[in-house]
Symmetry: C2
Subunit: 223 residues, 2 copies
DNA sequence: TACTGTGAAACGGTTCACAGCC
DNA sequence: GGCTGTGAACCGTTTCACAGTA
């Protein structure tokens, strides 16, 4: 545990938070936002846990890594905790994002409304196909991939999503890195190698189906 | 460790495999298939590990949960190990899959060629919008959502992918369960509650971006 | 009473280090 | 020499249980 005193108003991530904790933070946030839509003002750790399949102790310990957000006898105030988690995740700010690869998946993600409301603003897209360059999709300009490094640097784009075929993904990643990108979500079914200071999250849809197949084939609960 | 002797030819998942191990299995498989394309015949645990960012011991221990696939002094034969992992994951068979929700994401996934080659055959799709019902997308018939339970039961569909808005996801999941589905991949940003005997994997694209934002905002390696 | 925050215990996964094998 | 398979040590995460607070 971190020894530094942290103010209640300034929740900052200590260096030694287990990474699983961060992924649960996203789920807490999602559920809290749902509760607010139902006009719930507070929620206890056991209620929050039950909704997501975790224990109450786990919820409390996860949140306690970042500060003292709870109110004994009351629980957590939803709006307050939403604000705290968003600050912790860094989604209280706006992020500029680019999408490389405007095939089926890229197009679908460009049209997805969910990103903008969470602070992720897609400001440019790229594709190797010259026929696609020049058009706009959902108001987002699509550039030729040759202009990637220039445009990303110019617009100071921070995050990149890669939806090109596997064979091109590493090359695209290298270009993004040389353009100064800070993090990448990779949808291509390959493992990328990147400098350690660039964040990387991989999402492989086939892999997810395989996990499900295993669970079903072995009649094992995935929860 | 399981005490039962397992034959080399019959790799079967024991009951007590850590779930993280299964997710790494998918990555091993992906990398092995890449190696085969490059005409590599064998690979050692340290080579496989290095390519994916794991230690050699971890690779060996993961695989040893399921059988004796390695050859001392040689390593693992790629084709042989591919076959073994596919049997373990259950992707040596064909799975019938349905997609509920034919919006942007659903459409993109229907068009994605990667599933079929991995044994996942999408045989039907559903949408609440009556305008969409009746058409075919990539040869896959789209039905009205009212016919979901009937059609899923009729075609003995095993797995379902949910790409409807969050507010409808639980209801769709309940319908799939009552139609006898065995597992669900949920792309809607809600936590579903399902009977324990139905497999569940959740994929939330916003959540993935949030993980990346956290890593970048806190300058923490995600690897 | 109702609930949080947190040390301490329990658990589970990873790494080490080496015997055994080709 | 090169490499696997695996007990044992290690380390990180989860659960327990309870002191503290509104």
């Amino acid at each position: 545990m971190a020894s530094a005193r942290r103010s209640k108003l300034d929740p900052v991530a200590p260096r030694d938070v287990p990474t699983v904790v961060v992924s649960r933070l996203s789920l807490y946030l999602r559920e809290l936002q749902r509760l607010v839509l139902e006009d719930r003002a507070t929620v206890s750790s056991s209620q929050l846990g039950k909704a997501l399949g975790f224990t109450d102790a786990q919820v409390r310990k996860d949140l306690a890594y970042f500060g003292h957000f709870g109110h004994p006898g009351v629980g957590y105030r939803c709006e307050e905790l939403i604000g705290a988690i968003r600050r912790i995740l860094g989604t209280d700010r706006q992020w500029t994002v680019t999408m490389v690869g405007v095939g089926n998946l890229g197009r679908a993600l460009l049209r997805y409304k969910g990103f903008a409301s969470k602070g992720f603003r897609i400001v440019a897209a790229f594709d190797a196909d010259p026929h696609v360059a020049g058009v706009k999709i959902e108001g987002i300009p699509v550039y030729s991939q040759q202009r990637l490094v220039d445009v990303v640097r110019q617009l100071r784009i921070q995050l990149g999503m890669i939806t090109v075929p596997a064979s091109q993904a590493q090359q695209v990643a290298d270009q993004l890195v040389s353009a100064g990108i800070e993090g990448i979500v990779n949808f291509a079914p390959v493992t990328l190698s990147l400098p350690a200071e660039v964040g990387l999250v991989g999402v492989d849809l086939t892999t997810e189906l395989e996990q499900l197949a295993f669970a079903v084939a072995n009649r094992i609960g995935t929860r």
